[in-house]
């Protein structure tokens, strides 16, 4: 296991790149969901604003 993590001495560059890619992937998921949530919020606000008067 530890020797797998060690990647035959190359871990220094393999793991960072995997970590970075993982980070990008996760960020994208979060950003996407957040943008959707925001849009829904916005739309709700508009609906209320219109139904109010």
């Amino acid at each position: 296991m530890s020797e797998f993590l060690h990647m035959g001495g190359y871990a220094a560059f393999v793991w960072p790149s995997y970590a970075l890619t993982l980070a990008v992937v996760l960020c994208n998921v979060i950003w996407a969901r957040r943008s959707l949530a925001r849009a829904c919020e916005e739309a709700r606000r508009r609906m209320l604003a219109r139904s109010a008067p």
Binding site: G8, V14, S17, V24, C27, A32, S35, M47
Partner: protein, 245 residues
């Protein structure tokens, strides 16, 4: 037949509902395929005869790079459709692409330069592929900057769409000019290193990852698309039900 299909794709409520329905499927599919690819790449695939374990970077790098190109093309095509048919949904798709594309272009650059640090000792070389990738990043950033600079959504849509189309016309020109430039001063060409025809044990995981990332992109697109559609449907009555349900 085709036209009815086309028209349904043009109708926001229909697309919204469709996206909502498909999202989970693509989400899970992406997760599974990518995990499989990772397992194949990190565990099953044997070390490369000359690069040792370092070549494993390809399993994140190549997909990211591939993604960056694919996303840009998708964005530009959607933009073109939006411009020609003044189709809101198409603009919404284009708008959803930008951030995704930029982030994966960045990932390609970063992983690539990490790889490069190992291969030829510096984080950066002026290799044609890298330069075109960098330019692609600029194109994405420009697109996003333009969008955020215009506050009226309609105008932002149409302006950035035009930019995307002009850009995609240029991408091949840029790429070939950079290659030509590079061939004049023979600098190290990176990708050749990765090229020697891979044994299946290495190739299959790579292809799996490419597939997985593609599905993942569709998933992200679907999620963002709904939001962008909502932003563009001010008056529509269907929003009430959509939000209620």
């Amino acid at each position: 037949m085709v036209w009815t299909w086309f028209h349904r794709l043009a109708s926001p409520p229909h697309v919204y509902a469709l996206a909502a329905r498909l999202t989970p499927w693509f989400g899970w599919a992406a997760a599974i395929v990518i995990l499989a690819g990772l397992y194949g790449g990190l565990v099953l695939a044997p070390p490369d005869y000359q690069q040792g374990d370092d070549f494993r970077i390809i399993y994140v790098h190549a997909p990211s790079a591939w993604m960056s190109l694919m996303v840009y093309v998708t964005m530009a095509s959607a933009a073109a459709v939006g411009l020609v048919w003044r189709m809101k949904v198409a603009h919404a798709v284009a708008a959803s692409c930008a951030t995704i594309g930029a982030s994966f272009t960045f990932a390609a650059l970063a992983t690539g330069s990490l790889w490069g640090r190992k291969m030829w000792g510096t984080y950066w070389e002026w290799d044609p592929r890298l330069v075109s990738e960098l330019v692609l990043l600029f194109l994405f950033l420009g697109y996003m900057a333009l969008r955020s600079a215009i506050d009226d959504l309609q105008r932002a849509d149409r302006a950035s769409a035009l930019l995307a189309v002009v850009g995609v016309v240029n991408v091949p020109i840029i790429h070939y000019s950079v290659v030509w430039w590079n061939s004049l001063h023979q600098a190290p060409s990176v990708m050749k290193l990765g090229k020697p025809e891979m044994p299946a044990a290495m190739l299959v995981p790579l292809l799996t990852m490419l597939a997985g990332f593609t599905v993942f992109f569709v998933y992200l697109l679907l999620v963002r698309l709904r939001g962008e559609i909502l932003k563009r449907e001010r008056t529509a009555s269907w929003i009430r039900e959509a939000l209620a349900g």
